[in-house]
Assembly symmetry: C2
Homo-oligomer: 252 residues x 2
């Protein structure tokens, strides 16, 4: 951490020296009644564009707050360009996925409906809220983008050229994840990526055939035990970050 200020809030407003930030009733309540802050104390802001800024609370009531921005404490830094593409799972676990994927530095969270997906409805508002809270907590300077669920086939139809897929395949068409990633050259590591996690019961044969032939899809296994989808997502993202993403950087 670059400052001792513990409270970091995301806000969708420009951040610059001398600006005054008006907070919503919810946030004012949170600062006053939950965190018990008072005018004169400092909090930090980020908006996904302007880095992290320190502000001094000027006014604080239970329904409104004004914060005067003072100085930038961190510049905006680039994030790894990695998507998490996963078949939705039940409520507590999908909220967990949003939180963990955010902490683990994912750029986009994309639920996809597969042929064996049981859970077709997703409360994306709840995912956004979980991702936002996790961003504030983990010192990110941006929010991951959360998408409405879409059909896996449609997503693959419109797949962006050059974006590689790390396909966690229970059907074991690929090799162990460490060996697969160790073989990547530097150019492949610099490409945009997506981690693909299937539903309980796995992808069906039609989906598997398509993925096996899909350009730049790298099938990998995650060990000899059966992982829940949420565990697989967190594990694959962690391993990807360690070997391909930005975990060669140390905490700022």
């Amino acid at each position: 951490m670059t400052s001792n200020v513990k409270t970091r809030l995301y806000i969708d407003a420009p951040l610059n020296a001398g600006a005054s930030v008006e907070l919503s009733k919810d946030k004012a309540h949170f600062l006053k009644n939950v965190l018990r802050l008072a005018p004169g104390q400092h909090i930090a802001f980020f908006n996904g564009r302007d880095g992290e800024w320190l502000g001094r609370i000027e006014t604080l009531s239970k329904s409104a707050a004004t914060v005067a921005l003072e100085n930038q404490t961190r510049p905006q830094s680039p994030m790894p360009d990695v998507w998490l593409v996963f078949a939705p799972i039940k409520r507590a676990r999908i909220n967990f996925v949003a939180e963990k994927a955010t902490e683990l530095g994912v750029a986009q969270i994309r639920p996809v409906i597969t042929r064996r997906t049981v859970m077709a409805r997703v409360n994306t508002g709840r995912l956004v809220a979980n991702a936002l809270e996790a961003s504030e907590q983990c010192e990110r300077l941006d929010l991951p983008e959360v998408f409405e669920p879409q059909q896996l086939d449609k997503l693959l139809d419109n797949w962006p050229a050059g974006r590689r897929i790390l396909w966690c395949d229970e059907g074991a068409s690929g090799g162990p994840i460490a060996q697969a990633l160790a073989k990547l050259d530097d150019a492949a590591k610099r490409d945009p990526w997506a981690i693909l996690i299937g539903p309980e019961g796995g992808f069906d044969e039609v989906e598997r055939s398509r993925l096996i032939d899909f350009p730049d899809a790298l099938a990998v296994t995650l060990g000899p035990r059966l992982l829940r989808a949420d565990t697989a997502a967190a594990a694959a993202l962690s391993i990807w970050q360690a070997w391909v993403g930005d975990w060669d950087l140390t905490p700022s």
Copy 2:
């Protein structure tokens, strides 16, 4: 999976051909009223010693069940010798740690009290229940051993010679986890290990000094963002399994 049987139960009883297994009232209720199984159907058992066995339900009422063991479907296989040593965190998150650590193949779950640990009381019974359910779910053939919380200093005083520590150090005394693990030779990979995760706020300076000097403690960082303790535990275990543990094996 080696059989199509989805229901796997842990039982603390010998498993061998021709044996008859009596199930508790809770398990009988679960089979009959939750899973809606009936006599003649099959379930699988493991006990941590005798591999996985297939059994045929002979009698099933809401208070008792008898299952006749038929054949072994998998032999007992060795598990990686890795402990998870972590400062306890609040209830939902510590239950999550027990579940994820079990799926991720940990041998022992050891909560430790550090100087900055806020949560000193741990419901170990609940951790055991979560670990058991996760073992049944993830096709493990054993249960991780769950310990009562103890002081980190005491654990280190009695640390077993030769057990290496992967110390996830927010203080950044070490290098990135991937680079650190890539430098290990095969002998080091075969040693027993422990993953050490600190409390919110990190280890204090006295603890850090001791760990920096501790034999076979390898300090590593987990990227530029701040991870919650439960996220750090799942990430470090996943990465350890991929590069040191048994994730070079594929699903059976």
